[in-house]
């Protein structure tokens, strides 16, 4: 028995180099479907980027680069965009990629059953010019359209039709829920929802592989501490995310390393801008102090962001001055200074606003949405208490959180925003524009912040082709949001991945894990 163990251990040791190109990774959430148009969520789109491709894709630096389209140019005076498609591309099942698949994928992804239809709100039509040329016509000039479709993935029309998956399935499963037929560097070989998903390289891929992975297995591990244990004990080769507090230890452990970057997500505090009364604690029913800009300024000065970054974030995050991080397009360089931590000034502002004796209110916070969200809210509670305003903290799981915010059950709340387009226009559209259901504006502006000038600036920045002019519009809007303290941006959430010591990979700022950049040594 003992000898048998020794022999098998030896066999394993010998087999090591060959097995080294197998790669196992873990994340907190299982992609809920393999259908690229059924669910618009980061875990799904991030995973499927390894299997499906769009007309364009994002490179290591997030820049848009050619994928299934080799080039694109505006049509006329902002009427739309013409895409020239790559020739000689095949899907995983061997069928050829043509303009028909693009038209089909547009119809599928913009259909009512699709969760991705909002991406195509500016599109009036998609026309096939020839087998390898496609025109996308837009309602208004849309300079950022190519930037906004990096996650629009192209599915084989013939395969979808043959398997009855012409439309994404919303309340039933269909063939595309569990199977794929894309063009990307990896193909799906096994899918057990919630357990494991196995990918293998696609030999017929049009690009040049930069990886040496022969088989890749993804396992969802929900509890980050379990994931850390799995990485440290060598059960997996890569985990995302690493709990921020474990990063230091893990880097020092020797058999693991930590890869850090700045994510696109900005964490901020939000206020009720229109509510007349406070909702919580002993001051419930009293006039809402947060309507006064001085009180909002006081909050901005009372929160000691450097201390939060130093302790809770362990020095792994950058303070934020606006709704987007410096890595985003349209970031306002000239407005990169955030309010200083100055409790005396905060107290003075409160006194000036007539709240010298402070007040108490309710702070809502998710406890499983952002990195260490609950600890950050607790720290904020303490810091606000030190300038005399008492927050009663209510931290809850995210499935209860959004309904609470939507029903306006808060006096202050924590929000994180990651712009899907990697552009400063995105948070202005969703968080700072007066909510308008019909025009699909301000849909996450829970506090109903409303400023006429910001509302006017939004369409201007959306359709301006000239970069300098566009930046001027964005700067102006950002300045207003800072002056009005529409939100108090706190910091840019860090991105922390952990890998085995023998793994080389590239971390993209959108937190998408791209398997074709992995090298197992």
């Amino acid at each position: 028995m003992l000898r048998l163990t020794t022999v098998s251990a030896l066999a394993m040791a010998i087999a090591m180099p060959a097995a080294a190109a197998e790669f196992r990774w873990a994340g907190t959430t299982d992609p809920q479907t393999m259908d690229p148009h059924a669910v618009n969520s980061a875990p799904v789109l991030g995973f499927l980027n390894n299997v499906y491709e769009g007309l364009v894709r994002r490179g290591k630096d997030m820049a848009i680069e050619p994928a299934l389209a080799t080039s694109w140019e505006p049509i006329g005076d902002g009427e739309g965009w013409r895409f020239t498609l790559r020739e000689g591309v095949t899907f995983h099942d061997g069928s050829a990629f043509t303009a028909e698949d693009v038209i089909f994928s547009y119809q599928r992804a913009s259909s009512e059953e699709a969760d991705t239809s909002s991406w195509f709100a500016p599109v009036s039509d998609v026309k096939m010019v020839d087998d390898f040329t496609v025109d996308v016509l837009t309602n208004a000039p849309n300079p950022i359209f190519p930037d906004s479709i990096a996650n629009w993935m192209i599915m084989d029309s013939g395969w979808a039709a043959a398997n009855g998956a012409e439309r994404p399935a919303k309340d039933a499963e269909n063939h595309a829920t569990l199977n794929t037929n894309g063009t990307a560097a990896f193909k799906l070989v096994e899918r057990q929802p919630g357990l494991k998903t196995v990918l293998e390289p696609f030999d017929g891929w049009w690009g040049t592989p930069e990886h040496n992975v022969t088989r890749a297995e993804f396992t969802p591990i929900q509890n980050p501490a379990t994931a850390v244990a799995a990485l440290l004990s060598g059960d997996v080769d890569m985990i995302n995310p690493v709990p921020i507090q474990d990063a230091g230890r893990m880097a020092a452990a020797g058999n693991a390393k930590v890869i850090q970057g700045i994510e696109a997500r900005v964490i901020m505090l939000g206020f009720p801008h229109q509510a007349d009364e406070l909702k919580y604690t002993s001051d419930a029913g009293k006039p809402n102090p947060f309507k006064d800009v001085r009180v909002r300024q006081a909050v901005a000065h009372a929160v000691n962001v450097p201390a939060i970054l130093q302790t809770i974030m362990r020095g792994n995050a950058e303070p934020a001055s606006q709704l987007v991080s410096p890595a985003m397009r349209g970031y306002s360089e000239s407005l990169s200074r955030r309010p200083d931590f100055d409790p005396d000034k905060a107290r003075a502002l409160l006194a000036e606003a007539g709240y010298g004796d402070g007040f108490s209110f309710g702070l809502k916070c998710p406890n499983d949405r952002y990195l260490n969200d609950e600890a950050v809210c607790q720290a904020v509670t303490g810091m606000l208490a030190q300038v005399g305003i008492t927050a009663e903290l209510d931290a809850m799981p995210v499935q209860n959180y959004w309904p609470e915010l939507r029903e306006d059950n808060y006096d202050m709340y924590l929000l994180g925003w990651s712009p899907g387009t990697f552009d400063a226009e995105h948070p202005i559209r969703f968080l700072a524009t007066t909510p308008n259901e019909e025009k699909k504006l301000g849909s996450w502006n829970f506090g109903d912040f409303s400023n006429e000038r910001v509302d006017t600036l939004l369409p201007l920045m959306q359709s301006e082709i000239d970069d300098a002019k566009r930046q001027a519009y964005i700067d102006e809007a950002t300045k207003i949001l800072q002056d009005e303290v529409a939100y108090v941006p706190l910091y840019v959430q860090p991105l922390v991945w952990g890998t085995g010591a023998n793994i080389e990979l590239t971390q993209r700022p959108d937190n998408f894990f791209i398997l074709r950049w992995v090298t197992v040594n």
Partner: protein, 325 residues
């Protein structure tokens, strides 16, 4: 007897309906599934449309009636999260939980009875007292903490055992088993200890006290007086007579093992129905939650029914009295 059984089965059926009703009326407080199902670019119109599609805009009695009508035909709906039939998902996950429950149940039974007999025979011995006291440590720590500590020691520090999951599984028909591979067996060790520890302590204490009681009975004294060997007295006579209450408790505890599996499965990322349920709560996946609860209810109510019927069959007093629970 038959009238009693029919009445009892009917009551159990009512219990199931009530469980379902209570569960359904409370689901809406768990959270709103819509947010998780739509991306951040969703509009209010999308939200309303999906709500209508899923039937969530209807009052819960209507939702419940629909659920029951479908469930009666074996259709538990489609998971909000995975977009696949709940029945399929549960049947994929059930083997993991059942195998874990089986191993930890067996572990609890074998070790529990062994230690119970030992501590009863050596009632005042030092070893017995040590076992009795240390076994209490096992039930004085929350299950999740025991699991975390076991992972810390045996997976991370020593690197002996896997920290999560089931290892390699083999597919036999519709059943995926971890019993046939080395990694599958290794993966079972820590979770089954974590899950079985509480039941083990319980069984050990039960066996001990039942044994102590039986050992005082006259027929055991007679057996001893007749000069039977100690081993024979202890095992053939005494242990046999403690088995009835032990089996009853074990039956009831089988349900508890599966219910407690929620926590163990969460800590060890064990891909069973417990983990499925916890994930379903986080995602407000109502069809999965409903099906899981109904499944657990059927199991508990079934076990209760069997135990009650057994009592009825065994205890003639209950019959004469005409009183039954």
């Amino acid at each position: 007897m038959i009238a009693y059984v029919i009445r009892r089965v009917f009551q159990s059926f009512v219990v199931l309906l009530v469980v379902g009703l209570v569960a359904f009326s409370m689901f809406r407080f768990v959270g709103d599934p819509i947010d998780n199902m739509l991306g951040q670019e969703r509009t209010q119109a999308d939200v309303e449309r999906l709500r209508t599609t899923l039937g969530l805009d209807q009052p819960f009695p209507v939702q419940y009636a629909k659920f029951l009508a479908n469930a009666a035909q074996g259709n538990f709906g489609v998971s909000y999260r995975q977009g696949r039939p709940v029945a399929t998902i549960i049947s994929e996950r059930a083997p993991a939980t059942l195998e874990l429950a089986l191993v930890s149940g067996t572990l609890a039974l074998v070790v529990g009875i062994g230690l119970g007999v030992f501590t009863a025979i050596r009632r005042n011995g030092v070893a017995s007292n040590v076992i009795m006291t240390t076994s209490l440590i096992g039930v004085s720590l929350p299950t999740f903490l025991i699991g975390i500590l076991l992972i810390y020691v045996f997976s991370v520090s020593l690197g002996w055992l896997p920290s999560f999951g089931r290892g390699e599984t083999t597919q036999i028909g519709g059943w995926s088993t971890g019993f046939l591979t080395a990694s599958g067996l290794k993966a079972l060790i820590l979770p089954s200890i974590t899950l079985g520890l509480y039941q083990m302590t319980l069984i050990m204490r039960l066996v001990r006290s039942e044994m102590l009681e039986v050992l005082r009975q006259d027929y055991i004294r007679f057996a001893r007086a007749r000069g039977l060997r100690e081993r024979s007295v202890n095992f053939r006579h005494a242990l046999k007579n403690t088995m009835v209450p032990v089996i009853t408790v074990v039956g009831l505890q089988l349900g508890a093992i599966i219910a407690f599996a929620i926590i163990t499965e969460t800590v060890f990322q064990w891909p069973g129905v417990g983990l499925l349920f916890i994930n379903a709560i986080q995602f407000v996946d109502i069809p999965v939650m409903a099906a899981y609860l109904m499944l657990i209810s059927v199991m508990f109510v079934g076990i209760n029914l069997i135990v009650d019927l057994l009592y009825f069959a065994i205890d003639p007093r209950l019959r004469i009295d005409g009183r039954h629970a």
